[in-house]
């Protein structure tokens, strides 16, 4: 695995270009990865299910007969399939389906946005620290260590106190904590990547460090990063549930999967549907992300199988 090592990126001009011209109709490593991913049934099903959930979360709330925050005073604790509430109502007579869809939307949005925040900060930080090395690396990674030692909840409360309570802030708060692990992974990868021949070649050709990081290091990092992202999203969704449970996350009448479950667990003997349906959606969502993450890891880095 010398010339065909996984470090060859689709866009890298050093080695891949020559390889492409050699084969008339070549397959890039990404094509291989995609084929491997789609051969993994669990991952394929997960991609489809997750796609459906995302569509439901985006479109669904506009299609339900009741808004998620409408209190229906005559329909308190209606069970599933009775009346026009498909999966029942809660103690305030609010339609559970509408709340479930809006909760899914909030949870997915928090998951994706916070993960994106962590991705941007983490990759930039880790790549720079790893590539530049030396004193700067030491300094940057010690900052990461210090932030690591800060208790998560304490950090969130500090943010809330400083900037006031804000829905957006929660995305930032979670993302700003999640990037630490990302930065470490990226730095480690960068350290090994920068020893590779193609980086040396680029350096010899006079490419500036910023160009090397952007063109050669980061694209080759994508494998482990993508895998880690799929694992971060569920972690973030769980973190959001936890914050909301403490009253630091979303506030009534807005809801999230975690909030719905914690409320549902309280009333489970009286209104089991309030626990069952959100739990199913939460479990399915998290499993989809995990299967996709597993599938991606196997597909992108077959050595690890």
């Amino acid at each position: 695995m010398s010339a065909f090592g996984p470090e060859l990126a689709p866009g890298s001009r050093t080695g891949a270009a020559t390889m492409r011209s050699a084969a008339v109709k070549g397959r890039s490593l990404w094509d291989d990865a995609r084929r491997r991913l789609f051969r993994n049934r669990a991952a394929l099903v997960s991609v489809i299910v997750l796609g459906l959930l995302v569509v439901a979360a985006i479109v669904g709330p506009y299609l339900t007969p009741y808004p998620y925050d409408q209190v229906n005073k005559n329909d308190v604790w209606v069970g599933p399939l009775s009346g026009d509430h498909l999966i029942g109502t809660d103690s305030l007579g609010r339609d559970l389906l509408a709340r479930l869809l809006i909760g899914l939307r909030v949870s997915l949005a928090v998951g994706v946005v916070a993960t994106f925040v962590s991705l941007v900060i983490g990759v930039a930080w880790g790549a720079v620290a790893g590539y530049v090395g030396g004193r700067l690396d030491e300094l940057m990674m010690r900052i990461v260590d210090i932030l690591y030692s800060l208790p998560f909840i304490f950090f969130v409360i500090l943010l809330m106190v400083t900037f006031g309570r804000n829905f957006i802030l929660m995305f930032v708060a979670i993302g700003a904590v999640e990037w630490l692990t990302m930065a470490r992974i990226v730095r480690g990868q960068t350290l090994s990547l920068k020893q590779k021949e193609f980086v040396e070649a680029a350096r010899a050709a006079g490419v500036k460090p910023a160009g090397i990081v952007a063109r050669h290091i980061v694209p080759n990092l994508l494998g482990p990063v993508v895998v880690y992202v799929t694992l971060t999203i569920p972690a973030v969704i769980l973190a959001e549930s936890f914050l909301s449970f403490l009253g630091l996350g979303v506030q009534e009448p807005l809801t999230s999967l975690g909030t719905l479950i914690s409320k549902g667990a309280q009333d489970m003997e009286l209104a089991p549907w309030l626990l069952i349906f959100p739990s199913i959606v939460m479990v399915v969502t998290l499993m989809c992300f995990n299967f996709i993450g597993d599938g991606l890891r196997d597909a992108i880095d077959p050595k690890d199988r």
């Binding site: 409408q70 209190v71 005073k73 998560f152 449970f245 009253g247 009448p253 667990a265 009333d267």
Partner: protein, 551 residues
């Protein structure tokens, strides 16, 4: 991964009851902390985390639940919360009702020093000392010069409480106050051990230093976990005290506490989520445990007049108040023994006729909503310029249930309200600091109308959360204080209540019912209007067996 660990625990916690439910009939073994052989230990679910164990500083019902047995005041309560002699064996008042003399029995502090009248004088001086900043002080302003002492205008020595000799406490009053003997049983009026406070300062009330004269003393306090109290062998009636150790747990999550009671992990819990009362009374649940009883307490929303300009307009306040559908909250949402409130004071006040009502009390909801919209429009709020508010509420069971209903009611009149859930002890601290727009608060205890009405006096201080000020109202309360004739006193108080309802610095929501979950095996828990339950009467039906070592 430090970030994912905590949520994972939260998830597991959320799933745990599910797993337990799926586990079939297999009873889980109760997780009671070990109890020394031959001793009796009770596990007490106490709804909140205390902020202090100092009897003069305690202010919340769950703090009183713990501290009220650390000290015996001049008088005491029996199991049904009736006033009985405490450290004073007997007492008399002067013919004009302005001077009370209490005669003390011999008693010891838990360190062996005798309890003297001077300790009572010192306790009351601490209560009114501005440095103590007690939230309860204003309820005892009937004591001579106490208001001035509490305001820092007179020295502590000017307080109308003296000790002519070691066994006599003399209390002078500003005005006749027939309920002094009843109030003397409350923790704020308890004695303080001078020698201990002198030695440790504010730290005296920590379990390591605490010295008391009551049946129980604090042994340890683990923040967020439990407060453990143990029997005081030097209490004068110690032979009759049954339990050796009581542990208080801050059970803010009423539903999980309910499951702990069911499993036998807790012997009782002082809060039940309202909408579960009927469910728990089912024969297959825990019917013998549920204790619902009327309580002289009210839940109301307070409007912050100090920092929210929109709420300074009485039309806005009335509109917000009348738009709340109290029947829905009480009869559909709670179904737990509460009553809708259209007056500030709950029913059942001593000698009080309680005829004051909001002027729209009998209107149907549609008419109230229409009127509310009209009032808001008149005040300059409408679809283009909606009123926006934040309701800060306690994170305990019932407030979490009813505030979204209020939010929906307000939305139907075009008011955009946000909810902010706050841990209960932090919530009250925020209210006292004026850090809220609309606050959900409860007030209870005491059968005298003044015990509620004083809350809205302009000079009450932090307990007047919203900073309401109406000099006519203050004057009526003053007039009531100085009125000897009971009927006329009550008439003044009635007028004062009507002013509060017309000015609407608060929106009454419902009157409370006390809801306790008590294992039928626990004896000595007597339901009463004040939800006061002295610990020394509690015992177990199978106490002999437990002592013999089975439990």
């Amino acid at each position: 991964m430090k970030t994912s660990r905590l949520p994972l625990i939260a998830m597991l916690a959320a799933c745990a009851p599910l797993l337990a439910a799926c586990g079939g009939g297999g009873e889980q073994k109760a997780l009671r902390p070990p109890c020394p052989a031959g001793r009796l230990c009770l596990e007490y679910g106490n709804s909140g985390e205390p902020t202090t164990l100092d009897p003069q500083k305690a202010n919340a019902s769950w703090e009183f639940g713990i501290v009220s047995d650390f000290m015996v005041g001049l008088t005491d309560n029996d199991a049904a919360a009736k006033t009985i002699p405490g450290m004073a064996t007997h007492w008399e008042q002067s013919p004009d009702g302005l001077v009370w003399t209490f005669h003390l029995r011999d008693g010891q502090w838990s360190d062996g020093t005798p309890v003297t009248a001077a300790d009572f004088v010192f306790g009351l001086q601490r209560l009114f000392d501005p440095k103590t900043a007690s939230g309860q002080a204003a309820q005892f302003y009937a004591i001579k010069n106490s208001r001035a002492v509490n305001g820092g205008k007179l020295p502590l020595s000017a307080l109308g409480v003296t000790a002519p000799d070691a066994h006599t406490v003399r209390i002078e009053l500003e005005h006749p106050w027939p309920i002094l003997a009843d109030n003397a049983a409350a923790p704020p009026m308890s004695p303080s051990p001078r020698h201990v406070v002198a030695k440790w300062g504010d730290a005296w009330s920590q379990p390591a230093h605490f010295v008391g004269n009551g049946p129980y003393l604090p042994k340890s306090w683990t923040l967020g976990d439990k407060v453990v109290v143990e029997k005081n062998p030097r209490y004068f009636d110690a032979a009759k005290v049954c339990l050796d150790r009581i542990s208080f747990y801050p059970t803010t999550d009423a539903v999980s506490a309910e499951r702990r009671v069911k499993r036998g992990e807790l012997d009782l819990n002082t809060v039940v989520q309202s909408n579960r009362v009927n469910f728990l009374r089912r024969p297959d649940q825990m019917p013998g445990y549920v204790r619902v009883y009327p309580y002289v307490g009210a839940v109301f929303l307070t409007f912050n007049l100090k920092s929210v300009p929109a709420l300074r307009d009485v039309r806005v306040r009335q509109a917000l108040s009348m738009a709340i559908d109290r029947d829905f909250i009480v009869n559909k949402l709670f179904r737990g023994g509460q009553k809708p409130a259209y007056s500030f004071l709950p029913p059942g006040m001593l000698d009080y006729d309680g005829r004051a009502r909001t002027y729209w009390a009998t209107w149907p909801l549609e008419r109230r909503q229409a009127e509310a919209r009209r009032l808001l429009a008149a005040a300059g709020y409408g679809p283009k310029h909606p009123l926006k508010l934040e309701i800060r509420h306690r994170n305990t069971a019932d407030p979490t249930l009813y505030t979204p209903a209020v939010q929906a009611d307000w939305r139907s009149i075009g008011v955009k309200a946000q909810l902010l859930s706050t841990e209960v002890q932090i919530a009250y601290q925020s209210y006292e600091a004026g850090d809220f727009e609309v606050a959900d608060a409860g007030w209870g205890g005491g059968s005298d109308a003044m015990g509620f009405l004083f809350l809205q006096r302009s000079d009450t201080g932090s307990q007047n959360y919203g900073g309401y000020k109406n000099l006519r109202y203050d004057a009526l309360l003053d007039a009531a204080d100085h009125e000897r004739d009971l009927k006329r006193r009550m008439a003044y108080l009635g007028q004062a209540e009507q002013i509060v309802l017309d000015d609407a610095p608060i929106a009454p929501v419902y009157t409370i019912a006390s809801k306790n979950l008590v294992n039928p095996n626990v004896t000595g828990w007597v339901d009463n209007n004040f939800d006061t339950h002295k610990l020394r009467f509690l015992c177990f039906r199978d106490a002999a067996q437990r002592r013999a070592g089975r439990g």
